[in-house]
């Protein structure tokens, strides 16, 4: 992709550069700032209220605040536009109440702007910050809080001077994750007609048909992602303040009744706006408009999604097992390299990955077809770049990190001496892996498979670019309906996507309770 990007057709690219590209780049940067700011504000405040104060309904809010992560941003964007625009129930209600006739008689904010997109994306991504900050606060050594109190600081001063600085690396990691997701977002900004680099890649390829210009833009996007990854790695190095004496509720800031009320309003609003209200709107839509014809379309696209997700999950899990066990059981200096390299894919936006697939497999397909002609066989067509192969390949690259992470933590639970037991009993290495390690890893293998499956069910931008003609998945189907302003006809499918998104969150919650 980088190679193809360097051979860019200069006339189109310079045309883009002179006209729209600076706006695209600026929009991308602005969007990044808006989302980081709001996600950090929402996430850190919520985490602080849940862990550091005596806020009421803590046990419910604890997990409720994670749920917005299950909502695709583009769905929320559509639902809120529908809800808040001129013909929507909110403005209708206002007009009826105040007897306004036209939109000129009153001001109402326009959600379909850069700011609107930023706030909506942060509403569904803030749980990353919330979860990591919450864990960071809870894992802090209780004695550090005690030492601060003994040295004369109140609980609030202790939070500001000790807890918050200690959680800074975790918050930085979370914000870099949020930024990666923001750069990867395609559908929300596309729907709001906010032109960012991601939409530019898409338009350049599908609109102008210029693959190398699209690749050049994708390379620019990759560069941005690269800086975020660097930032994230730097933050990770600093994260070594965790303790085995976690701090759970021993030093809480006692809220006054007014503070208690404000804190509750804040947390409940986040849960409501990020999850409960969009879900309710979807359910209302489904109840009002569901038909059997929709169900047929749903079953077709649903099967396509499941097929893709099963291939992806299975391949990614097998690769992860091999790489994780290779790292564990080999002694050489570079044993971790394959595992680490395979994890980078997660940072790359689906659009960029799709471009990379086209740039890689397109030429290979051409070579295969030329060879076929020479040998005298029928041309097989685009057997790599034009089939499910490219999509599954892109998915595996993108989601390998999830499988790797799950299996790595699974393997860490196995004691090092277990590795030595099979050879000491005269059992060969490979047999040892199959009779000892893999059975012990069974739960992790299952979870890794499930998490990749769910992510693959939800992924949108990569399929949009790579799908064969007339091939639709659940998410492209929903996205198509959203583009045509008729989500009503796919509300059940949308609920299904949300339901799939809830699976990993429920699992996260469960493992946390076990700990």
């Amino acid at each position: 992709m980088l190679g193809s990007g360097l051979n860019v057709n200069t006339s189109l690219f310079s045309h883009l550069w002179e006209t729209v590209l600076p706006t695209y780049v600026l929009n991308t940067v602005y969007l990044g700032f808006i989302v980081s700011f709001f996600a950090a504000f929402f996430g850190v405040t919520a985490a602080a209220l849940i862990t550091q104060t005596n806020i009421k309904a803590k046990s419910i809010l604890r997990w409720l605040l994670m749920l917005p992560l299950a909502m695709p941003a583009y769905l929320v964007a559509y639902l809120y536009t529908d809800f808040l625009d001129y013909a929507g129930p909110v403005q209708r209600f206002l007009r009826e109440t105040f007897d306004w006739k036209t939109s000129e008689q009153y001001w109402f904010f326009d959600i379909r702007t850069l700011w609107g997109a930023g706030i909506i994306i942060s509403l569904v991504l803030f749980p990353y910050v919330y979860m990591l900050a919450r864990t960071a606060f809870e894992q802090q050594d209780q004695n550090l809080h005690r030492a601060s109190r003994l040295l004369g600081l109140t609980t609030f001063q202790t939070f500001y001077n000790v807890c918050l600085p200690l959680a800074r690396p975790a918050i930085a990691i979370a914000i870099s994750l949020v930024l990666m997701e923001t750069l990867a977002d395609f559908a929300t900004v596309q729907y709001f007609a906010v032109n960012t680099l991601t939409t530019a890649v898409y338009d350049t390829w599908l609109g102008y048909g210029d693959l190398s210009a699209a690749n050049a833009l994708a390379s620019l996007l990759t560069l941005m992602v690269f800086f975020i990854v660097l930032f994230e790695q730097k933050a990770r190095i600093k994260q070594r303040h965790q303790s085995n004496r976690p701090n759970r509720g021993s030093h809480v800031i006692l809220l006054t009744p007014l503070q208690q009320l404000l804190a509750n309003i804040f947390c409940w609003s986040l849960a409501l706006l990020g999850f409960l209200l969009p879900l309710a709107l979807l359910i209302v839509m489904a109840v009002e408009y569901a038909t059997f014809a929709q169900l047929d379309a749903l079953i077709d696209t649903g099967f396509n999604s499941i097929e893709l997700a099963v291939y992806t999950a299975t391949i990614a899990t097998i690769i992860a097992i091999v790489l994780v066990l290779y790292k564990r059981l080999h002694q050489d200096t570079f044993k971790a390299v394959p595992l680490n390299v395979s994890g980078f894919g997660y940072a790359i936006p689906g659009t960029v990955l799709a471009m990379a697939m086209l740039a890689t497999f397109g030429p290979i397909d051409n070579v295969i077809n030329e060879l076929a002609t020479k040998v005298g066989v029928d041309e097989p067509g685009l057997i790599l770049s034009g089939t499910l192969f490219a999509i599954v390949f892109a998915y595996v690259v993108r989601f390998s990190a999830i499988a790797n992470g799950t299996l790595s933590s699974g393997v860490e639970q196995i004691s090092q001496s277990i590795d030595l037991a099979p050879p000491s009993l005269g059992v060969g290495a490979l047999k040892g892996v199959f009779t000892v390690h893999i059975p012990l890893l069974k739960p992790s293998i299952f979870i890794a498979w499930l998490l990749v499956f769910v992510e693959a069910m939800k992924e949108l931008p990569a399929v949009l670019l790579l799908r064969p003609f007339n091939f639709d998945t659940l998410s492209t189907h929903i996205y198509q309906l959203i583009s045509d302003e008729r989500l009503e006809q796919g509300a059940i499918g949308a609920i299904l996507i949300v339901a799939f998104g809830l699976i990993p969150i429920i699992w996260l919650n469960k493992t946390e309770d076990n700990e």
């Binding site: 050594d141 003994l150 001077n161 021993s250």
Partner: protein
């Protein structure tokens, strides 16, 4: 006489369980108290209650004869002016040594604060380390920073939670002596928790032996070890071995000889505490008065000679025993029978 801390009938409950009860003692300025006892006896709970991490249910804590803390008047930790040194030091990992030490110094100008930090750096032999972060220091240096940080706000009293447990045993004794001298030079009172009785004898002026949430005995280490008031105290401090006995008026009979006592009422007493120094080995040919009465079970080698653990030859009678320990310069062998007698001494029975 002013007391730096005066505790009266302190009680702490957790849910329905009584964790601490009837804790009363006081310390004078500059006194160092060692809290000892088996694990789970409430030592750390007592320390945490004094620091204000745990609320008391009954009784009072009076600091410097002026600040009274009780159930009605709870004082938050930050207002108690108590310093604490944690077992793992709890240094703030995101702050330099200077900022750690300066963390609790408030309401003074920057130059005065810096001067104070420098003074503490010198006092604790940390010169030149002010800009480092905690993870760049050795364990001993980290502990010095923790002490400097705790001393900086000039607390009335210092609490130390197992302060020496993370220190290399070779350096431990020197460090204890050094910190004791430092505390004495500042007239700083301190309460420290340990499960190591040797630390108490080196570091403390007073000892409190705790058992099941109560203080069994409070006093100077020498008095407590000479006159333990209960078998738990003697047992925890490993003062000696336990011998069953029978008495006929003032004559005390044991499996290794008889002793003369100056009292005759030993109701409720079952065991005689025998310290190693009160055991004598008869190397002469055994006689009817001094027959061979024990056999050697275990031998360990120590700097003071050989440490023997023996059991009585007669295993049937009421007076037989399994474990008696003493030291001797001469080498005997396992299963060798010996003739032991007890030197006349002030008898301790429980």
């Amino acid at each position: 006489m002013t007391h730096i801390i005066n505790i009266d009938q302190l009680q702490v409950k957790f849910q329905k369980n009584v964790i601490l009860s009837d804790i009363s003692f006081s310390l004078k300025s500059g006194e160092i108290l060692g809290l000892v006892g088996p694990s789970g006896c409430g030592k750390t709970t007592l320390l945490n209650t004094l620091a204000g991490f745990i609320e008391q249910d009954h009784g009072s804590i009076v600091l410097s004869d002026s600040l009274t803390i009780n159930k009605e008047n709870r004082i938050p930790t930050e207002k108690r002016n108590i310093g604490m040194i944690f077992q793992d030091y709890a240094l703030f990992p995101h702050l330099t040594v200077n900022k750690n030490i300066g963390f609790g110094i408030k309401n003074i100008s920057k130059p005065v604060k810096e001067a104070k930090i420098n003074e503490l750096l010198t006092l604790l032999k940390l010169d030149g380390l002010g800009q480092r972060f905690p993870h760049q220091l050795s364990g001993g240096q980290q502990q010095r920073v923790a002490i400097a940080r705790a001393l900086a706000p000039q607390p009335k009293i210092l609490l130390l939670d197992e302060p020496f447990s993370n220190i290399d045993s070779r350096l431990r004794n020197d460090l204890m002596i050094e910190i004791r001298q430092l505390l004495k030079s500042l007239s700083m009172s301190a309460i420290f928790v340990t499960h190591n009785k040797d630390e108490v004898f080196t570091f403390a002026d007073k000892i409190a032996v705790m058992y099941q949430g109560k203080i069994l005995q409070f006093g100077s280490p020498i008095t407590v070890s000479q006159f333990p008031n209960s078998w738990q105290v003697a047992d925890f401090l490993q003062l000696g071995s336990w011998l069953p006995f029978k008495n006929e008026n003032t004559v005390i009979k044991t499996a290794i000889g008889t002793l003369q006592s100056n009292q005759s009422n030993y109701i409720d007493k079952e065991f005689l505490l025998i310290k190693p120094k009160d055991i004598e080995v008869n190397l002469d040919t055994p006689t009817k008065q001094n027959p061979k009465n024990v056999v050697i079970n275990h031998i360990s080698h120590t700097e003071q000679g050989y440490h023997y653990i023996v059991k009585s030859i007669d295993t049937d009678s009421y007076l037989s025993f399994n474990r008696l320990s003493f030291y001797h310069g001469e080498f005997f062998t396992i299963d060798q029978p010996l003739s032991l007698t007890i030197k006349p001494h002030q008898l301790l029975m429980f």
